[in-house]
């Protein structure tokens, strides 16, 4: 295959293809991947296991993931398990080019990803990743599965199944399943107790704030931080912002989540009332137009807008653009200044995309270790159990989640108790009363 029009390099190599920024970055990328690997002990254990058991031998996997050093560790596990891996980026901005290069040049994956691509290139990369006809898919946001069903329906029937790693993606998958348009089983890898805890709550909680701090260097203590959405990401964000001394306001549409926020001592307000008093706004809802025109109109000058949710639709950038008198791009890296009438300045971070991935480094490797361990084990499980699974969205089997936690504890040298036979018996018996 030749002639990718965005200036990237496309080289046929041992039957595999790639579209990456610069293969010369492979050395640098390999160092970064090795560094991350040290912080991902659970995946290392699984890689050793897969290298022996080869649960994915001969299978083709198409993946659409953030191409980062941590993702590379997952790809290495899949390769060790015997799979052919075709990888596209799940975000136009988040690719680490040196990692893409190393995966393609050093580790033998087919990679179609580079930082800073336009929309057309983004989707062309996804097309290339599914071209080989996958047996299994890994998705992050459902763009790959969606493209597969919408534009390569011919390839759907051979897919055994796949994993989706985000809440947003699972939401779209459920929509497809409800419309009877999902052609194979997908495992909702976003939605396990371990993943919600480590990835959404602790990972997003830390890295989104990291992104905001790197982009703006603002002091959070004493500031009012508005967290839109009190799901697992929002919970993590609110706790950590409070830990840094911010006064946190939560906005919600779900009464149960709002009540949870109130009981945690957070102030809950509608966005219309939070808008005039917030200093930093973080969206984590999975929905669109969470911060919209009427909100920009009343915000304080200097307010910072950041998005932690999957897509760039949570902040209504069109409306912001419409209200702006001037837009000063990149006043700092990843920070655009929108000057509104009356010299009010609003600072949009990372163009409204995932601020933790764009302005910082995404989740720390230790967090991604657990998420990707779940996906690695679930993918291998799917390879062996796909016959019994109907098309639709399925939960991660509880024993896989427990196994991930077990491996994580082992890597932390944490020992826990085991039930005694008497305790097991007690729990299973209905005869004991008060």
């Amino acid at each position: 295959m030749a002639g990718i029009g965005d200036g990237g390099v496309t080289v046929g190599q041992k039957g595999r293809d790639r579209a990456i920024a610069d293969p010369g970055l492979a050395e640098q990328g390999a160092r970064r991947i090795e560094w991350a690997d040290h912080a991902m002990p659970v995946l290392r254990r699984i890689r050793t296991q897969f290298a022996t058991e080869r649960p994915l031998a001969g299978l083709t996997i198409s993946a659409c993931l953030h191409v980062t050093a941590e993702t590379a560790a997952l790809v290495r596990v899949l390769l060790a398990g015997g799979a052919h891996v075709f990888l596209a980026a799940s975000n136009p901005l988040s690719t680490q080019d040196e990692v893409a290069a190393a995966l393609a040049v050093r580790y033998g994956a087919a990679v179609f990803a580079r930082a800073d691509v336009d929309r057309a290139t983004y989707y062309r990369n996804i097309h290339q990743a599914i071209e080989a006809g996958p047996d299994l898919v890994l998705d992050d946001g459902c763009d790959l599965v969606n493209t597969l069903h919408g534009e390569r329906a011919d390839l759907v029937s051979r897919v055994r199944g796949g994993c989706e790693s985000t809440t947003t993606g699972v939401f779209r998958l459920r929509g497809m399943a409800a419309a009877r348009e999902l052609g194979f089983p997908m495992i909702a890898a976003n939605d396990t107790p371990v993943k919600r805890m480590s990835d959404n709550r602790y990972g997003t909680g830390q890295s989104v704030l990291d992104g905001i701090l790197r982009a703006t260097n603002t002091l959070l203590a004493g500031r009012t931080v508005v967290v839109a959405g009190y799901g697992y990401c929002g919970k993590g964000l609110a706790e950590r912002a409070r830990g840094l001394g911010a006064q946190v306001i939560v906005t919600e549409i779900n009464p149960a989540a709002a009540l949870d926020a109130v009981m945690q001592g957070f102030r809950v307000l509608p966005m219309a009332r939070a808008a005039p008093i917030g200093d930093v706004f973080i969206t984590a809802t999975g929905n669109r137009d969470v911060i919209a025109g009427e909100h920009f109109a009343v915000m304080r000058s200097g307010a910072i807008l950041a998005n932690a949710g999957h897509f760039d639709v949570e902040v209504d950038i069109g409306a912001l653009q419409g209200q702006a008198v001037t837009v000063n791009r990149a006043v700092r890296p990843d920070t655009d200044e929108y000057v509104l009438p009356g010299q009010r300045r609003l600072l949009l971070l990372a163009e409204g995309r995932l601020v933790n991935l764009v302005a910082a480094e995404g989740h720390p490797p230790a967090v991604m270790d657990l998420s990707f361990a779940t996906q690695a084990l679930a993918t291998a499980w799917l390879a062996g159990h796909h016959d019994g699974l109907a098309p639709g969205v399925h939960d991660v089997p509880a024993e896989i989640d427990a196994e991930v936690a077990r491996l994580a504890l082992a890597s932390l040298d944490v020992e826990i108790d085991a039930l005694t036979p008497a305790q097991q018996d007690y729990l299973e018996s209905w005869r004991y009363g008060s």
Binding site: G222, L244, Q247, G265
Partner: protein
Amino acid sequence: MPAEPFKVADISLADFGRREIRLAEHEMPGLMALRNEFATAQPLAGARITGSLHMTVQTAVLIETLTALGAQVRWASCNIFSTQDHAAAAVAAGRGGTADAPAGIPVFAWKGETLQEYWWCTEQALTWPDAGDGGSRGPNMILDDGGDATLLVHKGVEYEKAGGVPAPSDDDPDEWKVVCDLLTRSLASQPGNASQPGKWTRLAAAVRGVTEETTTGVHRLYEMYRAGTLLFPAINVNDSVTKSKFDNKYGCRHSLVDGINRATDVLIGGKVVVVCGYGDVGKGCAQSLRGQGARVVVTEIDPICALQAAMDGYQVATLEDVVGVADIFVTATGNRDIITADHMAAMKHQAIVGNIGHFDNEIDMAGVARTPRIRRINIKPQVDEWVFPDGHSVLVLSEGRLLNLGNATGHPSFVMSNSFANQVIAQIELFGKTDDYPLGVHTLPKHLDEKVARLHLDALGVRLTQLTKDQADYIGVPVDGPYKSDHYRY
């Protein structure tokens, strides 16, 4: 003159009190270490100490530490509600005595004193029995909390000098009228004459000094010193780091929530709580309330404390801003008229109002009581529902007095061990080295503050790192401390 050896609610509670004291001793390693250290030296032999301090189980351990070091002690509580009757009974019965054959110290304290009884108790604690040489004697040391014992002595002296007690005006608080009544009677029974000054003047002359426990009392002492009316030297125990930081911050952090729970059993999570004042007490209160899931709003008059609260992530507002939306109000200012009757009239139905500052004037209870057509319904001891004419009501804890003491059991033993170890060391200093402490208000030297902390480390399993000589020289401190300059703020 004192007709009774002691006065407590029920001496038969002594056994229960003794059991609690025994548990508290384990939680008060600082005091127990001082008993060991000074068992033979007896540095308080010859000291006659009048104590005016909440008569709790922890105070019992303090009292018995003072006596173990050789002191004679008489005691009153410094709050009409704060006495734990079983602790008072056990102190009266004494370590070697029983309820039937009491052999403890003269203690005059019970929970729920009237104001008249309260000041009578204070006077009893200040009045030693006839020593056989004619006339009563007073203490030679005072251990005060809030300064009431010191106040009574100073006012007695002032009015003896003036030749009488001025008539209180109608605007004066009820409590002041009680003090005036007491002193009027006292001056009439033991007036001075040409050959012998009056009781209070003689008493004050024998006092070597006072050690004061609280911010409020310390504030009074500094005012008297500036006004030139302070009669004897004072040690400000409150401002030892191991006192104010620990007792005010960690003690209130523990006992505020305890008091609110015991009084109301209301779920604190999700509630909006206004903490008035962000000093050490307010900081501890805000932290524990947040820990329970409350949304805390702070009010402040001091820009530094207000900024601290903001930097700690709290909303800072005026009381008027939030009076209609908050569920719980806690005063921790040390000032008066923080929550007025008008504020309470504007609160939500069944808002909870309590005070953790020293006196009961932070919440204007007199103003509330004067509200036309207001009704007071006593829910249970120390919990009153005040029903306003419009039908909404406000729950007031402990009648606006210290709710952590009135509704719960005050600071936990471990915290009080820090405070009281400072008290004991201050008493030893002032009694033994009187000449080192000229008339004025002093704080304990830093090395003694550090000593108090040291006495508590083992009990918590703390392993302290030791400076090397080179390290000590590098930062210019002795290897064994003191480690910080006096202005260091911790």
